[in-house]
Structure formats: C-alpha cells, structure tokens
C-alpha cells in the first residue's frame, strides 16, 4: 500500500518543497512508495484527505495557517515538520522580537492598514509533530532515510550529534578553536555534513539546534566571549535560524533587551 501523502507549505521560501523535487535520482522510485495526492505546488488536483503522511514546510504566521495546520494534523496519521521554518521558526522568527507597529511602519510608512499577523511559530506550537527534518534546506539524504523508515513503519533515526562531529570526520581545521571565528557548529545539529566549515566558512546554525544544545550553550557562549566575540554579535547568532528555541530565547531575553512584548509568548 502506497502512503497517501500531502506536501504543503506555510510561511517560508518554498525551498523545502523544491528540495523534494530536487530528489532527482530518487523521485520516480519514491512515487512507488508515496502516492502524492495533495501537493499544490506541483499538482492541479489536490485531495482533501485523509492522508497517511503530511510533510509540512514553513512556519505558522497567520491565523488562517493555525487553522490549516490543525486541519492537516487531524487528517494525517503522521506529520513531518520539513525544514527549519517548520521545526524552529527560522529567520522570520526574528520579527517576533520587533514590535508589530515598528515592522508595519518599516514596510508601509503611514499607510492606513489594519495589520493582522500573529507571532511566527514553529508548527509544533499548535500541533503534535511526529518527526522533524530540520535544515535550511534539509539534507536530501536525511529526508529519504526518514521517509524510508516511515514507509517501513519504524521510527526514523535521529541526528543526535552536532556539526562538529561531521566536521571532525572531514578533517577540517577548527574555525572556532584554531581561528577564533564564531562557528555555531558545537550547538548545531549535524546532517549537513559540516558543509559550511568544509567551504571555509563558519556554521551559521541553519540545521537548527543540536539535541544537547541546551546543555552546552553556556560553555559555548563562554568560548565565544573568550575569543573576543562581542555580546551583541553572540546574540545575533542565537537570534538567527532558531530564535524561538527556548535555550536560545532565554539567552536573548537576558541579553540586550528586546521589546517587552516578547516575554508574553510561550515557547517550547
């Protein structure tokens, strides 16, 4: 039995859906396992469900999307959060730290608009998520593995190591310790194959926080400070791809004061 599959996008860049179409070598084989019945980006005819599997890209940022994501949950046996927007909120989460009025004025000036947007949130603020495939974009191989396990009825393997583990395997020099650059590898989930450090650039955290990020964050921040990175620049790093992740959020809130309205939101 093929899995009746839905692929949808909330607020994001659509890249994670494109990344699915980028599975050039596997796409035709995948269609033997997945019956993609709902995929508005690529299909004219889209089923209303129910689904065995829903792959959801993007963060929630409008009240309509709250409804949409809840409906998708009700209709689907398994839900996969696809990409860093769906898993952690991604860059657009940064706007939660700015006042809504300020954001509106930046874009519109004095135009009279009834501005209606809600705080950006990862999808698991509203629904239960079965599996996470973070990354901006996610690694194609990891998605394939995840889908394979789901098709087999098993729990997908988790990437429980940070970028540094992969960086060591590639025998890269350490940008943080040796060069004093603010590399986010130690607190970032692996899965990308330590891509950026291998291209001679610091990890910026696009795969989202590693599983033990909460435990190592204090030590990590201390290293950055010892290396002479300013408090302000450290906070910018945390307020980037996963600004709504609680251990990062707590650091940001303790640091150089964002607007007070931030404190009212719940975080996971």
């Amino acid at each position: 039995m093929k899995l009746k599959t839905a692929i949808i996008g909330l607020t994001g860049c659509f890249g994670c859906q494109v990344q699915f179409l980028n599975l050039e070598d596997e796409l035709l084989d995948l269609l033997e396992v997945l019956d993609i019945v709902h995929f508005p980006l690529a299909k004219e005819e889209n089923s209303d469900g129910p689904f065995d599997l829903a792959l959801i890209e993007g963060s929630v940022s409008t009240s309509e999307q709250v409804k949409e994501v809840k409906e998708m949950r009700e209709k689907s046996k398994k839900v996969v959060a696809l990409g860093t927007c769906a898993c952690f909120g991604n860059l657009q989460g940064i706007s939660n730290f700015q006042s809504k009025e300020e954001v509106r004025r930046t874009v519109y000036g004095d135009a009279k608009l009834n501005y209606e947007a809600i705080d950006v949130a990862p999808i698991d603020r509203y629904i239960q998520v079965d599996h996470y495939v973070p990354g901006c974009p996610y690694d194609r191989g990891i998605l394939i593995e995840t889908l394979k396990y789901i098709a087999l009825g098993k729990r997908p393997l988790r990437v429980d190591y940070c970028v540094c583990a992969e960086c060591k395997l590639r025998e890269n020099g350490c940008l943080l310790i040796e060069k004093g650059q603010p590399c986010m590898g130690p607190i970032t989930r692996g899965g990308c194959g330590a891509l950026c450090p291998s291209y001679n650039y610091t990890c910026e955290g696009c795969q989202g926080p590693s599983e033990d990020a909460a435990e190592v964050i204090d030590a990590y921040v201390k290293i950055l400070k010892d290396k002479g990175i300013s408090e302000d620049d450290i906070l910018l790093k945390l307020r980037k791809f996963a600004p709504l992740y609680k251990p990062f959020l707590l650091k940001i809130l303790k640091g150089s004061g964002p607007p007070k309205e931030v404190s009212k939101w719940k975080s996971r």
């Binding site: 860049c13 890249g15 990344q19 050039e24 690529a42 299909k43 930046t106 009834n114 974009p137 910018l236």
Partner: protein, 429 residues
C-alpha cells in the same frame, strides 16, 4: 459571469483569482495574493553586513542564489569593493545554472502538464517517462553545478563576500564540463518539446524591462536597465522609475514604470526580446529558426523564451568552464571586506526577471536599511492588465477552457508569490 479560482496551483506561493464579467465587460479582476509575510526588510536591519546575502537567500527557495548574489553585489557596492574577473565568472556560472534549474523546474514541473493534458508532472510520468527523466537529468545537472560552486543547490554556503572562500578544483571543472557536453541531446529535445506546444493566440502591447550590459546577455553583470520602448535608466535610480503601490487584494505591492505610467513586464521574454543579439550561438539559431512563431508580444511565449534561455545557459556554462580549465580565467582569492559606512543598490536578472536589492550600512557594519523588489512584484500589475485584455476575447469558450487559458497565462509568467510577498501581510479596513 463570475470566475473564481480559489487556489492557484502549480505556482510558487499562495494566490487566487477573481473575475467578474458583466455583458462582455470585465467589471472586476483581482489576482489575490495571500502569502504569509516574513518581513525581511524589517528584520535585516541591525544585522551584520556579512549576513545580508545569506539571509536574503532565504527569501526564495527557487531562486535563492539570485537573492544571494544580488545582495552581495549591493553590499560590495556599498563598501566600495571591486570584484575581479575570475570571481565574477564564477558568479555568472551560478546565475546561469540557477536560471537553467529554475526554468526547467517551471517548464516541466509546473507548465508542461497543462499543454500535454495532465494534472501534474507526477501524472505525466506514467505516459511520458522519458520526458520526465530528461527533466530530472537536466535539473540535476544544473543543481550539481550550483553545488560545485556554492556548496549546495539552494541556500549556498555564505562564503562569497569579496570572493569565494573555497573554489572548485580543476578536476571538478573538467568532470562538470564533460557532463554538460553530454547533455546536448537532452537540451535539444527539451527545446523541441517546448517549441511544439501550441500556445493561445494573444497579444498586448507592453513595455519589457531587463538588465543590460554592453556586449553580453546580461544576467549578473550590469548597472543599467534597458526597455523595449527605448528609454533606459540606471539601477541606482530604480526608486524614481519603479513606482510601487499597495493594492487591497494583494500582500505583494504592484509596480508601474514612472516614465510610461503603465505596467511593464520582466523575465525571460523581456530579456530575449531585448538581448537577442547576445544569446549564445545555439540559442540564437533556435530563435532564428522559430521566426514568426516567436511572438514577442504574446505573454504565453515566455515559456518558449525560457526554453531558449536554457539552451543559452548550458552553452555559456560550457564556455566559462572551458575558460577556467584553459587558464584564461583564474580562481581569485577573496578580497578582505571591511565595514564602513555606505549605501548600494544593485540589480541582477533572476530567472523571473529583474531583481533589486538595496542596503545601507553604518560604520560598525550593521545594516540600517534594506529594500528588495522582486520580479513577480513587478509583473503582478501586468498580469492583471493582460487578463483584463484577454478575458473578453475568450468569453465564447466553455468555462473550463476559460479557466485553463487563464491558468496557463498565470503560469506562463512563472510567478513566485512567496518571493513577491517576502515583506508583507496585510488586511485592509
């Protein structure tokens, strides 16, 4: 008669179409855009200048590199950094590969099914498995070129400010050149397919705009915008020429050209119309062979213009790879870029048309102002104007046909709604 397409499919982003026709006249026509917003221009303020391109890349998952390079170009301009030829050539390689990748995605995955009578490429794969495999091969090759230079096929490694911090090896370039050469047959068959599709007959006089650079088919380089109606302007003056306005039914702004007071079009068709002479030999030959079939004023022809650009892209990619391999072009070391106060506006040709980025940076290297105008935002008004002209001509068709004709038109523009609305989400009182 009312025509309502609730959810436009096979376009990138969220939109719908409402048309109300009374006695053969279009009373109301709205391309409703309800994409969720991400406020890039707002949250990029206060970020470091090194992050501009990396963050801008996330505006779009189809043309991430266009946003990335346009932002780089603007930031480097703001900081007065001159980029050497070799680095420019590597960036052109990225632009060419991304243009090919995006066009192939659009042509095969979003547009072709309409013409071949399928609901999607997934459905098409049952009867046309060879075509689908070809699409996948061409897409994979373009994506692999992007990965070779930028690290991955979308949202590349942000290591290119002032030049790439890591560059491909000669062996990688040679292997890639071999693959590009082997793909000639696929490219030819691709062109054949899209030449064979009968597009609806429709023409409307409109102004096309595209980046220009003397002697080249400008995609990455260029500081001037040329027009099919003759007047050109400097990219630096874009704000005087593109007048953006907010319309109630769209979370993306609309643009008009101040000189004409009218909507205009950008994208493959505008580029090919304006820069035909600078196409690669095979692409030029293709367009000459097409002759009258290439109707410059028919927006549906944009698909064919994209196919021609794919031919151009692969030929140019070969050319650049060869020049690197022969040593004519050299891989350059990155220039160290230091923060200082500055301002820069830039434009490149993204797959869907001219893309503008504009930044101000303060002495500490923090971004104090960011502005982005995407191709789709520029095309939106023109899409509505075209449909307003087209609808009265097709009212005799059965309802399903009317809807399909309109959907084909919208898809012909290859709109990227999530790009166009990276900045706002509004509801009017």
């Amino acid at each position: 008669m009312e025509i309502e397409i609730d959810r436009l499919t096979k376009v990138e982003g969220h939109g719908s179409l409402t048309i109300n026709v009374e006695e053969g006249k279009v009373e109301e026509l709205r391309l409703n855009i309800f994409e969720g917003s991400r406020f890039f221009e707002s949250f990029m303020r206060g970020r470091r200048f090194e992050e501009a391109a990396e963050m801008a890349s996330r505006i779009c998952g189809i043309c991430s590199y266009s946003h990335y390079l346009t932002a780089l170009k603007a930031v480097e301009k703001a900081l007065g950094v001159e980029i050497p030829e070799g680095t420019v050539a590597l960036r052109k390689l990225i632009t060419l590969a991304e243009t090919a990748q995006s066009h192939i995605l659009h042509l095969y995955f979003l547009a072709a099914a309409d013409y071949l009578g399928y609901e999607s490429i997934l459905a098409m794969s049952k009867d046309h498995v060879e075509e689908v495999k070809r699409a996948l091969r061409l897409k994979k090759l373009s994506n692999d070129i992007l990965s070779m230079v930028g690290g991955r096929s979308l949202h590349g490694v942000p290591n290119a400010l002032g030049g790439f911090a890591a560059v491909p090896t000669k062996q990688q370039l040679e292997r890639m050149l071999k693959r590009v050469k082997e793909t000639d047959d696929d490219v030819e068959k691709m062109l054949e397919l899209f030449t064979s599709l009968e597009v609806p007959k429709f023409e409307r006089k409109a102004e096309g705009l595209a980046l220009a650079k003397e002697g080249t088919f400008a995609l990455y380089e260029g500081e001037e915008i040329s027009s099919t109606w003759g007047a050109s302007f400097k990219v630096d003056d874009y704000q005087q020429h593109l007048i953006e306005s907010v319309v109630p039914h769209s979370t993306a702004k609309h643009s008009i050209h101040s000189t004409t007071g009218e909507s205009f079009y950008v994208g493959a068709l505008a580029r090919v119309n304006l820069q035909k002479d600078h196409l690669s030999p095979k692409a030029k030959e293709a367009i000459e062979t097409l002759g009258d079939k290439f109707r410059e004023l028919n927006p549906y022809i944009n698909n064919l213009a994209q196919a021609i650009e794919v031919v151009h892209c692969f030929e140019e990619i070969s050319n650049i790879l060869e020049r690197f391999i022969s040593g004519e072009l050299k891989m350059e070391r990155p220039i160290e870029v230091k923060p200082k106060e500055g301002e820069g506006a830039s434009a490149t040709e993204a797959p869907r048309g001219t893309l503008y980025h504009h930044y101000r940076i303060n002495g500490e290297g923090k971004i104090t102002y960011a502005n982005v105008i995407t191709p789709t935002a520029q095309n939106l008004r023109r899409m509505e104007d075209d449909m307003r002209a087209l609808v009265p001509q097709i009212l005799d068709l059965p309802r399903d046909e009317i809807v399909l004709t309109l959907e084909k038109l919208i898809r012909a523009y290859d709109p990227c709604i999530s790009c166009a609305t990276h900045f706002l989400e509004v509801k009017f009182i």
